[in-house]
């Protein structure tokens, strides 16, 4: 047994492939046999991933979900930023440059509107919860954009570490909510074409959440959503600690 554990630790990534393969297998069986195909297997698999991430956090008290457990380290590597971004870029293979160009304006509008909406609604909610200083409000509003914009903004405007942690948690909640609700709501909001996926990616922004949500909705839409969503975090990091922070200060004074 110890030999096996040692072997797994040494070959973390390979074990990660096996673990994810099993999760997909279980999800497929649940999707086909129990739910009669009503919810796609990938949606169930992503949800199972979140549940495992939760359990990992409960058992270890760490910050990286399941991958904080020694033998599951490889899962964290497989799901880390390098493989995630590499695989997202690979999805562009199936996308049409013509469609991306044609929906350019739509993508841009939704990108700016998305950042604006998430930031200011986040600020209003933080205000309702009793925060009154511009730095904290700005950081939590930025966290409502993505879990990267939050800490980058917090560091820039000098927010407390407690508020920065809160902004990261806010961003992770957003990612989870977008992941789970995208496939559920997709039909009702007519999220079914490359153009609408580009708008959706820009509006929601969280590239992990958008990509995961679209993957569970229709994998063909993933590249279109991802191509706009990836600009969201950068644009958010640009706008939140600068223009938005100044606007916020003016409103508060």
């Amino acid at each position: 047994m110890e030999i096996l554990l040692n072997l797994i630790e040494k070959n973390g990534l390979v074990f990660g492939f096996l673990v994810i393969g099993l999760i997909v297998l279980i999800s497929d069986v649940i999707s086909k046999k129990i739910l009669k195909g009503k919810i796609p297997g990938s949606a169930i698999a992503i949800f199972l991933g979140l549940v495992l991430g939760y359990l990992g956090g409960v058992f270890t008290g760490g910050e990286k979900g399941l991958s904080d457990i020694q033998i599951f380290k490889g899962v964290g590597f497989l799901g880390g930023p390098m493989f995630r971004d590499f695989a997202i870029v690979a999805t562009a293979m199936g996308a049409s440059l013509y469609l991306v160009k044609r929906a350019g304006l739509l993508g841009m509008v939704s990108l700016f509107l998305g950042i604006l909406l998430f930031f200011f609604i986040g600020v209003i909610i933080a205000f309702a919860w009793g925060y009154r200083d511009a730095a904290s409000l700005c950081t939590i509003g930025a966290g409502a954009c993505t879990y990267i914009v939050g800490p980058v903004t917090g560091a820039a405007v000098g927010a407390s570490s407690e508020v920065i942690a809160l902004s990261i948690a806010t961003g992770v909640v957003k990612t989870i909510v977008v992941t789970i609700f995208t496939p559920i709501i997709a039909k009702r909001i007519h999220l079914n074409s490359p153009e609408s996926a580009m708008a959706y990616g820009g509006l929601m922004g969280t590239s992990s959440g958008v990509a995961a949500g679209l993957a569970a909705t229709d994998p063909k839409l993933v590249p279109y959503g991802a191509v706009t969503a990836t600009f969201y975090t950068g644009l958010g990091c640009l706008l939140c600690p600068s223009i938005f922070f100044i606007v916020l200060k003016i409103i508060l004074s």
Partner: protein
């Protein structure tokens, strides 16, 4: 050969990320600005060029397609390594600020689509 496809993908990825990092430094923020998006556009341009010059072989394509297909497993692995516990237990503010704007955007989304969707001729739409 498959590796040509994977290498092409790697080239597009690195060039895009480099552009994203450079743009981040240029505008003075500590973040990669759209690196993945640039990489995707570079890959699409490269692919178009390869197709035009009939250099894209089936094997090359399948080298890239493998990573394309691995995308959902990677996302599952990513979901499993998120800090779900702290997000769930961070208190009501994080949950409210993380979910209410998403719900608002579900209502805003159809309006954007209606007003800014491109029509078939390639021009931007007139809201009517």
């Amino acid at each position: 050969m498959n590796i040509y496809g994977v290498a092409l993908l790697a080239l597009a990825y690195l060039l895009g990320q480099w552009l994203g990092e450079a743009l981040g430094i240029l505008i003075g923020i500590d973040a990669n600005v759209g690196g993945v998006g640039f990489a995707m556009i570079i890959l699409m341009l490269l692919k178009e060029w390869f197709v035009k010059n009939s250099l894209l072989t089936y094997e090359m394509e399948s080298g890239m397609d493998f990573w394309n297909k691995l995308y959902i497993p990677v996302v599952i692995a990513m979901a499993a390594s998120l800090n779900v516990k702290s997000a769930v237990s961070a208190g009501t503010l994080a949950i409210a600020a993380g979910s209410i704007p998403v719900v608002v955007c579900f209502f805003v989304f159809p309006m954007i689509i209606k007003n800014f969707s491109p029509k078939n001729d390639g021009n931007t739409a007139q809201p009517d």
